[in-house]
Amino acid sequence: MKKLDRKQIAARLARDIPEGAYVNLGIGLPTLVADFLPKGREIILHSENGILGLGPKPAPGEEDEDVMNAGKEPATLLTGGAYFHHADSFGMIRGRHLDFAVLGAFQVSVTGDLANWHTGGADDIPAVGGAMDLAVGAKKVLVMMEHLTKKGESKIVERCTYPLTGARCVDRIYTDLAVIDVKADGLHVVDMVEGLDFQELQRLTGVPLKRLASAA
């Protein structure tokens, strides 16, 4: 089987973002999606610190300290973009105005619970940022992650063992092995990588998967 690398997961996810969508890309892995959004579609990126119409990285020497993304990296504003304060920014998130939030994850449960902010380790200093707001607020929450941990355990689980970011909030999971929808009656496989069959995906995942007729 041909596992996807991180850029290929981002590219696979980016294909599903339609024209006109308002999207927040979480910090870390999800920011890769910006590089793969289909040219020719107008897609507006939101940044928690108060930007709609977030643009690409500035050219070297063109950085402006007052324009940054949520990861505090230098950014730009697209023509037509807007700035606003933090309460408005999170009003957009919680008020269900964003079409998609793309988030990384430690674990996703069969019912769509998301764990992505804290390992729960006693010595770990917790930091949550806007993750819990995005998890409950966006119309669709898309998770982007590797299918298995470094030890080979499935990150799609019966119940999250890490502290939750949000309950029953994930709509779709994009991994290096498959695309999986979280529905009321369980997990539906939408897509698998080349050379992977359903039985093998089921074996690696551990929790019950349903097979869409269209998935090979």
Binding site: H86, A87, R94, G129
Partner: protein, 219 residues
């Protein structure tokens, strides 16, 4: 004649007492009022409660205030960063209390304080450990957590331009927490790049009206 211009950051913060709750504007360096933070460090007030999105970066600004052991408690959403070593050290040593607040809840609690709201229900953090012990309610099809406003004695803000009435404009994403922190504090002190005559700011473009601002320092 109303004149909110103050001669120096030191003069603007001279009366800030020990034990005060101080909101500090900024998201990273964007909007961070570094001259006011430096003046607060020099001023000497201790046992402060600080409200900021983060818990200081590298060795200056809020990080320096924490390193000087002047902060008793911090309310923020994202303390742990690659360069938050002063906070990390104080936290692990048990010298600083952390109230971790989801970013949108932090913003809304600040907004609520300035807007006279007694409390509000938010869906954020429902079913998570950050909602443990909090009142919840099901309203319609969703579950919510009860959250209370965060009031402050002082807000330290960086804006772009101000007139002597305290009307403010900001620059780009450096607006972030400024407008809501200005509303939530009893005394709002603003560091600005430029001061202008009354009438020079287009009334259509004023973001924070002067009613929310007490002192302005050009720096």
């Amino acid at each position: 004649m109303i004149n909110k211009f103050v001669a120096s950051p030191e003069a603007a913060l001279a009366d800030l007492p020990n034990g005060a709750t101080v909101m500090i504007h900024g998201f990273g360096n964007a909007g961070m009022p570094s001259a006011l933070i430096d003046a607060l460090i020099a001023q000497g007030a201790r046992d402060l409660t600080i409200v900021n999105n983060n818990a200081g970066n590298a060795d200056s600004g809020l990080a320096a205030l924490i390193a000087a052991k002047r902060v008793r408690k911090i309310l923020c959403s994202f303390p742990r960063q690659s360069d938050s070593w002063h906070f990390d050290k104080a936290y692990r040593a048990g010298e600083i209390e952390l109230e971790l607040v989801p970013q949108g809840t932090l913003a809304e609690r600040i907004r609520a304080a300035g807007a006279g709201i007694g409390a509000f229900f938010t869906p954020t953090a429902y079913g998570t450990r950050l909602a443990e012990g909090k009142e919840t309610r099901r309203i319609g099809e969703r579950d919510y957590v009860l959250e209370y406003p965060i009031h402050a004695d002082y807000a330290l803000i960086k804006a772009d331009r101000a007139d002597r009435w305290g009307n403010l404009t900001y620059r780009k994403s450096a607006r972030n927490f400024g407008p809501i922190m200005a509303m939530a504090a009893k005394t709002t002190v603003v560091q600005v790049r430029e001061t202008v005559e009354l009438g020079e700011l287009d009334p259509e473009h004023i973001v924070t009206p002067g009613i929310f601002v007490q002192r302005i320092v050009k720096h």
